[in-house]
Symmetry: C2
Subunit: 145 residues, 2 copies
DNA sequence: CAAAATTAAGATATTTTTATCCGTTATTAA
DNA sequence: TTAATAACGGATAAAAATATCTTAATTTTG
């Protein structure tokens, strides 16, 4: 559904959000460990997120990544659009470049319904709201034994 | 959602199904053109489908690919499972290897609902049923201008 | 001010997916 | 029986995604 890059990005941002109340900065080593993602790849992704304005960062000792108040309210949809692009969320289920109401593929209507539900899910869930669920111990961001 | 290989496979099989009443054999050139897919890659995919028993084939002049009665009733789910594997359909929305009810990711419940709907769609639609929709002129398998 | 810590940037490597090419084998039909 | 046709099989290539490495730039702190 989503690319690895996108999944790592979302997991990382949720982790940052969980510490955001206390203005905690998290360095890349801790971050990658906390969400079970490959460190160097995650570092690259965090760089992108930083450039895109989805996360904040500061260099030097006691530096790291963090989220400001506005960034906390980022919707999953924004992240997915930025990393995986609109094709993933708007594309035809059978891969036709110009599948539409006029010329639908055989799966068009049914697939569209599901795709739209997924988009709603991504639109309604923010990094902040998901971090709440995690902080309350209702969910996790890394693999448990 | 699905790989290109899987999308091409489904489009090709629906096209074959549309001619199956008349026991038409379709050669790879016509097939690739009919569903707007790259010929050599599609040829490879048809080879796989043939090995897997999803399509029939015969060599030589007037040979080609075709579907027998049983193959007409192939569910999309079977094709997706064979080509993309179960991970695509059962995996965690945020990529956790062992996300489950005991240790759910923050998206688990909502994502699962959508994933299950998609699986139902793939389970309920057969190559045959989709070919009907196409033969009745209600849908298409290639890009229209 | 110097050393250490940490992100940023750019280059490189690996893997997977997608795609192509070529020679072989089987089958048909003239 | 031979020439043409078409799938089959294996090797190769190109592109994209994933992942790593190395060096630079910045900031903090002793």
């Amino acid at each position: 559904m989503l690319s690895n890059a996108c999944k790592y990005a979302i997991r990382a941002m949720i982790y940052l959000a969980a510490g955001a109340d206390n203005h905690l900065k998290v360095n890349i080593k801790e971050l990658a460990a906390a969400v079970d993602s490959p460190l160097p790849f995650t570092a690259k992704i965090m760089q992108s997120l930083s450039k895109l304005g989805f996360v904040s960062s500061s260099k030097g000792p006691s530096g790291g990544f963090f989220l400001n108040t506005a960034q906390l309210e980022t919707k999953l949809l924004d992240i997915v659009m930025a990393i995986d692009g609109p094709k993933e969320l708007n594309g035809c289920g059978l891969g036709l470049a110009n599948c539409n109401e006029q010329h639908p593929c055989p799966l068009h209507q049914e697939y569209k319904t599901i795709r739209e539900r997924f988009k709603i899910l991504l639109h309604e869930n923010t990094i902040h709201s998901l971090a709440q669920s995690m902080k309350q111990g209702n969910s996790v961001l890394k693999n448990m034994l």
